[in-house]
Each structure stands twice: as C-alpha cells, then as structure tokens.
C-alpha cells in the first residue's frame, strides 16, 4: 500500500527535521538526548508489545477486548514482587495461596492431560505447592525464579478467569462479554488492593541489570541502564518462543485454525475451549513477564488499583495500531507506540513560552487510540475486521 509508506516516511522525515530544529535552532536538547530517548522508546515499546500480545491473541480467537488484561499484568508484577522480597504473609496465608495456586496448576494441566490421576498433573501440583510455599516463606528468592513462578501463577489466573467469567458467556453478545471483562478488571484491581498493598511499591530486586551504563555519542554522553539490553532481548526471546509455538506445534496450529473460524475448527476435531484456555495462559504469562520487566524499568510499582489501567489501555492501543489479531502487528504496534509516546514529549521540550507536552503524554495515547479506531480499525498489518452485512 503506497499511501502507508508515504505517510510513514513523511512522518519519519518530519521527526528528523524537528530533531534538527530542536537541537540546532532551539538548542533545547543535544543529539545524545535523542539517542537516549530512542533507546528508552525501544525499552518501553518492548514492554507494550509484551502486553499487547495478550490482547491481540485473545481478540483474535474470541473477539473480546480483554479489559482485565492490564490488571492481569498488575497481578504478575506484584506476585513477582512478593515472591522475591520478604513476603508479608504469615505461614497459614502462604500455605493457602500456595495450595490455591497449586490447585490452579493442576486444573490447567488437567485441561491437556485429561485425567486427574495423570502423573504429570499430580507432579505439577506437588512441585508448585512446594516451590510456592518455599518462595513465599523464604526471605528472598532470585528475581528470575520469582519471574518464572509469577508467570506460571498469572498464566493459571488467566485460565481461571476465562473459565469462571468468559466461558459461560460463549455465544453471548460481545457487549455482555465486554461488560464481564470490565467487572473482572474492577474485581482484580480491588482484590489487588486487599491482597497485595495499598501503596506505591519499590521494585528493586538485587540484580546487576539495573546498573547504570553510559557511553559517548556525538561528543556528549548517553545515560542509560543495562536494562536496555535485557528488556528488548527478553521480549525478543519470548516473542520468538511464542511464534515457534504458534507455527510449529499442533496446539499452535489449532490456535490459528480457531482464530480463523472457531466453528469449522471444532468440526475438524479441535477442542476450541482448550485452545482458548491456552491462549489465556500464554497471554497472561507474557503479561506477567511484562509486569516484572516493567517493575525493573521504572524501579517501582504503582498501587494495584491504577497500575494496570494505563499500561493496559496503551497496550491495547498498540495492538490496534499494529492490527488486532496479528502477532507481528502487536509487536510492531507496541514498539511504534513506545517511540511515538516518547518522541511527542521529547520533540516538544519546555521552552520560555511553552510548557511542553509532557503533561499530555497519557492523553496522547488515548487520542492515538481513538484516531486509529476511527480511521483505520484494521491497523498496520491487520486484516479488515469491519462487520459485514
């Protein structure tokens, strides 16, 4: 589509011109600042991409805007925090959470193994129980282990949410499903306040990845952290793993088939409910990974009631920009949104007569979302999803 290229290249040219203007005419910023902003955008964009993948996969299969996904992301971040830091839970509570999570793991494994007496199901439950009791009662756990455990539990949570709230509504109007998702989001936010904390929480696991890093560029210095390597690399790793799963395995093939046409897939012998559960599992696991990396990136977690909302809605915007229902689209949209959001504020710095655009950063994401939905709901690489008569 030539118009897409023309608009895209025009935008890039405008940005370059504006950078030149800000650096050489306004002299408000130097070039190294923009290199730093570029790196930061990549970091932020990778995080958006991780969350957007969950939105796009769920929308692709059951056409649901999973409003609760941002809050699943919040749960993932806080779970990891309470796993690697000293947990506030006394032994009975640790045991209850561990038992519930182990039960959830067994529930999910049972979906694929089909029998409760299967050694994998029982073994998974026992391992999860032991690991979680240890992690919750131990003073500190390695943050990577905490992240993996958090991904596991959050994935299970996603499956349970689907089973309890969404699966009874298969075939109901999509609006009913959306209302249920909003209720689920509200439930998770307030339960988070109850179970986790009511405060902004520092998120500083003992790791070398958050150390500062600086290197000279264009006669000036760019300041960043080692996370500039970790976050995009982790995202790329997860995305590659997801792509391999979707393209190379039987379950992935079933997933693509269900996304294309659930009814026909069912007729061909695909267990669509199991496929949807898998989708929720994978999406929530990616969201949890995103949550941990988000915490590392910002060094603190907002309080549970608000932490998930803005990242969630921005990631949804990213999924729509990329083209909802498409995996590469979510990644492209996420990175693009990261760049746009950072550069809107970086390109219009505070000057004598102008307060800068920093305070419009969140508004910008919403405006972008509305514009994309209005002008090109199919996104950059997406198929046309407009309803046909």
């Amino acid at each position: 589509m030539p118009w897409g290229w023309i608009i895209g290249l025009g935008l890039v040219a405008l940005v370059i011109f504006r950078i030149y203007y800000v650096v050489h005419v306004l002299k408000a910023r130097d070039l190294a600042f923009f290199v730093g902003a570029m790196l930061q955008s990549l970091q932020l964009g990778s995080l958006y991409a991780l969350i957007a993948l969950g939105y796009t996969m769920v929308y692709g299969i059951i056409r649901l805007i999973n409003f609760a996904h941002g809050d699943v992301f919040m749960v993932g971040a806080f779970l990891a925090y309470f796993l690697f830091s000293r947990s506030p839970y006394a032994l009975p509570w640790a045991l209850i959470w561990a038992a519930l999570s182990a039960w959830g793991v067994m529930f999910v494994l049972n979906l694929w193994r089909g029998s409760f007496r299967d050694p994998i199901v029982i073994g998974g439950g026992v391992v999860a129980m032991a690991g979680l009791t240890y992690a919750l009662s131990a003073t500190t756990v390695n943050w990577l282990l905490a992240m993996l455990l958090s991904m596991l539990i959050t994935g299970v949570l996603g499956v349970v949410i689907d089973r309890v709230a969404y699966r009874p509504l298969r075939g109901a109007p999509r609006i009913s499903l959306l209302i249920t998702a909003i209720a689920m989001s509200f439930f998770l936010e307030n339960t988070g306040l109850l179970v986790f904390t009511r405060n902004q929480t520092p998120f500083r696991p003992p790791t070398e990845w958050t150390q500062y890093l600086q290197f000279p560029v264009f006669g000036s210095t760019v300041y960043t952290t080692r996370l500039i390597f970790l976050i995009p690399l982790a995202t790329a790793l997860l995305v590659v793993a997801l792509t391999l799963f979707v393209t190379r395995t039987r379950l992935g093939k079933a997933m693509r088939a269900s996304a294309q046409d659930p009814e026909t897939a069912q007729m061909m012998g695909v267990n669509v409910d199991r496929v949807i559960a898998t989708t929720f599992l994978l999406g929530s696991m990616l969201a949890a990974a995103g949550g941990v990396l988000w915490g590392l990136n910002f060094g603190s977690l907002n309080q549970p009631a608000v932490m998930g909302i803005l990242p969630g809605i921005k990631a949804f915007a990213a999924a729509v920009i990329g083209g909802i229902g498409s995996l590469p689209g979510a990644v492209i949209g996420g990175v693009l949104l990261g760049f746009l959001e950072n550069f809107v504020t970086a390109l219009f710095p505070r000057t004598q007569h102008f307060a800068g655009l920093t305070e419009y950063k969140d508004t910008f994401a919403f405006i972008l979302l509305i514009l994309v939905l209005l002008l090109r709901p199919s996104g950059i690489v997406g198929e046309d999803l407009s309803e046909k008569v």
Binding site: A90, P92, M106, I179, Y360
Partner: protein, 455 residues
Amino acid sequence: MSEKRMRNAVLTLLGLGLVAVVLYLVQASGNAKLAQVMALFAIWGIAAVSLNLINGTTGILSLGHHGFMLVGGYATALLMLPEAARARISESARSQMTPFTLGLSVESWMRAIGLPGLATPGTLWVRFLIALLIGGLLAMLFGLLVGVPSLRLKGDYLAIVTFGFGEIIRLLASTHLLGPFTNGALGYNGVPGNFGTSLWWTFGILALTVFVMTKLKFSSYGRALQAIREDEIAAEAMGVNLAYHKVFAFALSAFFAGVAGGLWVSYLAAARLDFFLFFLTFFFLVAISVGGTGSYTGVLLGTAVVVFVQQYGDPLEQPYSLHTWLALVGVIIAAVALGAAWLRRSRRLRPVWHPLLFPLLGIGVVAVLTALVGSHWAPLTGTFQAFGMRRILLAVLLVAIMVVRPEGIMGRAEFSWAWVFRERRDQPSDEERAQDAWLSNPELNREASDDEGEG
C-alpha cells in the same frame, strides 16, 4: 381505554405524593445518614437512567459517562463558586486560574444584566438552576462530540472510544489547557452544598429525568432507538436515520449526566478530579446490568442496590481478627467447590464430584478447621481491615449477573399499573374478534382459503 389511562394517571400522582410524604418523613425524622443515602440514590439514579438511554435503549455500550459528569460538575461548581472561595483561589500561588475564568459566575452575570434581585443569597436556587442548565448544555456539547464516532464504529470498539473520550476529558482537565477552568489538580472547595443534599431537589430532578426518559422510550424517537438496538440494518431499512438518532441519544444522555454531575458536586460541596474516576461509570454499569438493561424501573432498582452496598457496606470493611478472615476464605473456597458440584449436577455432568473438586474442598475445610482450632496460634492473632470489599462485592455481583442472568432482574419489562392489577391482554377485544372472523371466514377472505387449500 381512556378510563384506564385516567386511573393510571391518578395512581401515578398518588404514588408521587406517597414518595413526597416519605421524603418529608425522612427529612422530619432527622436521620441524617438516611437522608444522605437517599440523596445519593437520586443523584446516581439520574446518571444511571441517563446512561441507560445509550446502553439500554439504544444498545450502544458507552463507558464515558464520568467524563460527561465531570464537564457538568465542574461547570456548575465554577459558576456557583462563592466570592470568598474565588478570593482564596486568586490568592493561591499554585492556582492556574486567570481573572477571566475567575469572573465566570452566575451571580456577577445577574448583576451585569441588571437583575440584582437574582444575585441575593435568597435567590441562590435560581442561580443553581441556571448553572445546572449551563452545565448540562456543556456536557451535551461533549456528548455530541462523542456521539459522532458512533456513526462509524460499533460494539466493543465504540465502547473503547467512549471510554477513551471519558479519560481524555479527565486527563485534559488537569493540564494547562483546561487548568484555568478547572483549577488543575486543586479543584474547587466551598461549592454550595444545600442542593445536592436536599431531597426535594435531587428527587425532583430524578422524577423529571425518569419522566422524560419514559416518555421518550414510548415515543417514536424511543421506538427508533430500540429499533437501532435490535437491528441497525433493519432499522435503517425502515427509514430510521441512524446518525441523527444515535447522536441525539448521546446528546440527551450527556445533558442529564451533566445535570447529575452538577448535583454530585453540590452533594460533595467540592469539585476534584478524583470524584470523577471510572468507578462512577462502573457503578452505573452495575446498576443497569443488575436492574435490567433497557428498563428504567430496573435501573432504579439496580441503583438502589449499588447505593445500598456502597453506603451500608461499612461492616464489610471493619477490622476483623485474622482467624475470622481465614475461616471466611475457607468458607468461600469450600462454597466454590460445592457450587461447582451443584452446577455439574444440575447440568447432568458425570461424575458430579470431579476429582479436582476434592482438593479445593479440602483446602477450604482445612482452612476453616485451622481457624476454629488455632484462634490462639501466633500467626492468626491480630486484625485485618479489608478496604475495598464493597467494590469487590459489586464486581462479583456484576460478573454473576452477566453469567447467570445477562438481561438483569427486570429484563426489559417496566413497572406499570396494568402489571400491578394483573391485567393481561389475553382476551381479544371485540374489534379484534371481528377482524379475526373476517380473516378466517373463507367466504369473506378468498385468499386465506386459497392458501389453506394449497397447503
């Protein structure tokens, strides 16, 4: 027929009179908490009823109602702000307001147009009425703005766009762009509070809103809106102007939301941005979904449920000892297991006791037993206060109602006197009988007999 209409009108008036007596008694009894709860019910009722015009009658899920309320609320607050509060704002160094925006006041306008009689403390109610009207009209403008995307989008995408608009309004209100009008994050204090807490004002405007909405529902406009809800394409084929009717619904709904916002600001005697968060829209959504999507009776019922949980749910958020909480968690887990088994039995799934239910039941029972036995065990001493329990309850209620009974308690049925007197229209009238006789009489209606013969 007209006899029955007469009877219904008289009964409605009597009912309104009864409500007025109840309001009078509540006010006379001096029960401040009850009066406050009822005022809140009326204010949220106005907003929920107006949201129902979009969500229930027209069938468009709109999630931006808190934005409309914000516009109406801030406009009313600014226009009604007393001089003393204005002086405090202009002295404050952190204020963003300009002399122009500080001069926006109904009181000074009344003086300027030569009506000093309307600028006295005794005529505050006239100024409040004017401010409410202006607030409603401003919200209506925003409603028009939000209604326009509804021409291009449908369903969940449109819902997200309305949500985005609601959030944009709230986010912009704290920036330098709208800061001179909203006083940024500081907001206003000292808004006259004697209207939002007055039962006569709130219930009067609620009655007006319900009157307008029900009249609208059964008018040609309302039928057109309901036709849009059932099937847009069929409605358009029948000659319903989709664009006009949708934008009309948004604008009217936003107007009443703005009025509700004005009363809400007066109820709280202040205007701040955190009074207009998404939770308001969520509460109205709960009210609509629980009561019955599309039924104004149901919406009022749902609002009563929401207000009751919010206002009388304090016992849920008191500090209780930890072993009580452990027992509660255990009971909930066990109840989930038992409920799942019950559902499996009612759906004739075998085995009723799925193997996975046993561990769940076991966790619950163990937790309850631990709580019962170990009330003196060290980790279980101490208390815990569950803030936010009411909202969790409302969220669970909404999920439950969507899963179990998606149409809500009332469905689309409305309260009516015919329903009270059990007047069923299962006996056809004489006119209908005559028509039927004509249709089924082969001598009079040749076509009917032909069809039967062919069949």
